[in-house]
Symmetry: C2
Subunit: 223 residues, 2 copies
């Protein structure tokens, strides 16, 4: 594979700052489980596999620490952050509250076009669901939640939501629910989009709350 990024990306786009590239690269490695929770990150080792020197790598690790994906132990270095069951629960409580807030705001300020776009994503997601394409479904699932929060037109809320979602991604990646739970999640999404289209804030909040409560039930055993 040889995934060096040091000399790639020189083509059409003038490269979007090496820093960002290292960060998102490492983020993906953590989320996809290539770097496992609790695993110590040896700098030189990572440098070689990424084709970068230590200085930018260390800076990237500092950024990831800010996102809560790695932990910096002084004198020991970086470790992939480990989440306990309580951590996951706590995070879901917070993300639920954030999405509920976003829901209320979105019902007020979102344009009809924005809402239509959500419906469109939802439809595509349903297609992947029916086709049993887990990965594609999963990605659109993330996207629909992100888009919903974006409708609230509150960048700060969106930022917090985004980092929380990144932290949870790793967990949800594991949480392979069976077909019946999957179908239930899909149905919840349908209710969410419907409530949004009706701009029924109270109902939307209730449905989203339920959806994330169920999300906890779905993953709680897996953690």
């Amino acid at each position: 594979m040889d995934g060096e990024i040091g000399k790639t990306g020189r083509g059409i786009i003038e490269r979007q700052s090496l820093h960002q590239e290292i960060v998102s690269r490492l983020r993906d490695m953590i989320i996809e489980g290539e770097l496992q929770p609790g695993e110590r990150l040896y700098e030189i080792q990572l440098c070689e596999s990424l084709g970068v020197s230590r200085t930018p790598l260390r800076e990237a690790l500092k950024s990831l620490a800010g996102e809560g994906l790695v932990e910096l132990v002084p004198g020991k270095g970086a470790v992939v952050r480990k989440f306990t069951k309580k951590d996951v629960h706590d995070m879901l409580v917070v993300i639920r509250s954030m999405e509920e807030l976003a829901a209320r705001l979105a019902c007020e300020v979102a344009s009809d076009e924005d809402i239509a776009r959500i419906r469109e994503i939802h439809n595509r997601m349903e297609a992947h669901f029916k086709a049993g394409e887990r990965m594609e479904y999963y990605k659109l699932n993330q996207q629909i939640h992100t888009s919903l929060v974006a409708l609230a037109d509150n960048p700060h809320l969106a930022a917090f939501h985004s980092t929380l979602q990144a932290q949870l991604k790793r967990i949800r990646f594991i949480g392979h629910e069976g077909p019946e739970l999957w179908a239930a999640a899909m149905a919840e999404h349908e209710r969410i989009v419907t409530a949004l289209e009706a701009r029924d804030a109270d109902r939307l909040v209730e449905v989203i709350g339920q959806h994330l409560h169920n999300a906890w039930l779905r993953v709680k055993e897996a953690v």
Copy 2:
């Protein structure tokens, strides 16, 4: 003044990692307005004033970028983040939602001793209010909000709240309300603590929501 930190702190405590020291030092400089919003941060200049080399300084800037206090413009470096009126409003909306969530959780899980400790902080704050000691009041004000969130026993919520509070600190620092607004804020705090002691979640949420809504009214002109 000569506030170098490169060779200090070698005494009793073995020094709490230079990185953290630089970060909190810069954070203070930003919050207290020594580094003004929009101001470009020249690395070498900062290095000299802090007595540190560029490498750890740059790493600290990356951390601060994660906290949202500085902005990293690729090819240009770090700039103290500038907040618009909408930014401040958006942040207060989010922090309000977080504190409301914390309030509900706190009413359930907080111990009587924890609540008593909040009352104790409140009393000290009231004393400073009566004595007209703004700075001491201000610090305890921050502390009481932080402590309230801590009662919810949700570290993730607490972390987000903390970074938001840091970002807002700079603003509130400016927002010097007159005596009558100050008294109103004090009265709101009294109601908050009372509701907490009664573990009346609904009322607590309402009062906190009002308090932060008023906080917006108090600072909106100053931004």
